[in-house]
Symmetry: D2
Subunit: 148 residues, 4 copies
């Protein structure tokens, strides 16, 4: 895949959603506990899924589950109680039977970057066996959005 | 059920387990977030279940689920990071097709009471329908422990 | 306080906010884990606080903290992944130096009742000592909203 | 730092602790929710800290906080309700004013690898400013354990 193609895909399949920091998400240091960002990434994926018609339930109803096999997060600035944050979720198209997302979390008031990260998911069938090729419904979904 | 019988049951079926407060369980006020105690109660039930042979999985393998239908907690003292707490879980025998537990959480160092509470669970069958009479496996379990 | 006054207060100081069930909030039974509702109540209080100018931070900036001393929840119906729920938070005016809320959680699609509950909070000063009389800022807040 | 030195450090400063999967940690797929592993890593750090005299509270009492600035996790096998897992936390010595840990989570019954990961922490002083050089207490701690 050329770099140009990649950039187009990023541009084409991006979702943003806004969350508000909950009181219970703040830790001893009075900032959002770092593990919470993994939930924000999940919020981002769900919002993306709803936006582009590929939620966990859509995947499940097609006979698959897509567990996370790798995740990472780099923390740039803290978030505090009542802060609003924008979660940007970018779909990165790859040929392998995997789903790759990149995330950027921005503070809502000044749009500064709070955190970045990425996740990789694989496909399991109903017997919980790893699928080595892309399921048909997923290829159809890619076609629908002009990725392949 | 007479009060005497009740007291005997409490004495007979009680479990205690010790937990250590996690860093991530502490909130903005630098004390354990109040919702966390609902997890401690669950820790208590799981420890009780293991002790008396009636874990969630035992129940599940008998074809039932036992969702919580009511819970309450009264907070007496705070817990902080690295505190150890003892969760005392008391099984309260009732005739209805319900499971009733009472809880007391103690600070481990001075055995002062941190919180008290209770929970009520019902039985759902595999169709997720409410069971109005006690399942046979549950009556057998009661017999085994001399409650009925 | 007469019953009539109480009913007026309930009518006057009520907030509703909508939440969407997160994937990570669902448990083994594929329904929202019961402890999660304690967070929904907190979401309700925060939304109420923002609506009526009495958030945790407002309280904190006035030199007080208001920890929960009692909470209860009765579960009526399950919530599942992607369900939307409406949290109704009703302020119940009492003379004592406590904050009392009642909650009703509705399923958004059919407005059926999912859960009910209540919470009690007390005032601690900056030395974390219990305040036995209502802080002035709180009385001012009550006056502003025509409760006293 | 030579590779030999690194290996020695890993061998020297390693902690293992055992956790039991909580019912509430399991998700829709009836396996431990992926974000939960970030808590397991924290459990590992806390156990390491207790073992080697460098808990969050020790750091805090020396006038510092050590927020996470980077974390990653690779998932190999699922964990289910009631599974026991061993968290191995390895301190990796580096010259920079950072704390680096690597983690391996094993299933307790067959010692198979469930997940691997790493985290990086930095030092903030009481004004929450980044410390660019290692605090003295941290250098003393390194000396005590024969790392420098």
């Amino acid at each position: 895949m050329s770099k140009r193609k990649l950039i187009q895909n990023i541009a084409a399949l991006t979702d943003t959603t806004t969350i508000k920091v909950r009181f219970s998400e703040v830790d001893f240091m009075q900032i959002v506990w770092h593990g919470q960002y993994i939930k924000y990434f999940e919020d981002g994926r769900e919002s993306f899924g709803k936006h582009y018609g590929i939620t966990y339930m859509d995947v499940y109803n097609n006979g698959y589950m897509t567990p996370i096999v790798s995740i990472d997060c780099q923390y740039k600035k803290p978030l505090s109680v009542e802060d609003e944050a924008i979660i940007e979720t970018r779909y990165i198209n790859i040929d392998a039977a995997k789903i790759l997302f990149e995330y950027t979390i921005y503070r809502a008031d000044d749009h500064s970057v709070v955190a970045t990260g990425s996740s990789v998911q694989v496909f399991l069938n109903t017997n919980r066996e790893l699928e080595l090729v892309n399921p048909q419904f997923y290829l159809d979904w890619k076609k629908k959005w002009g990725i392949i």
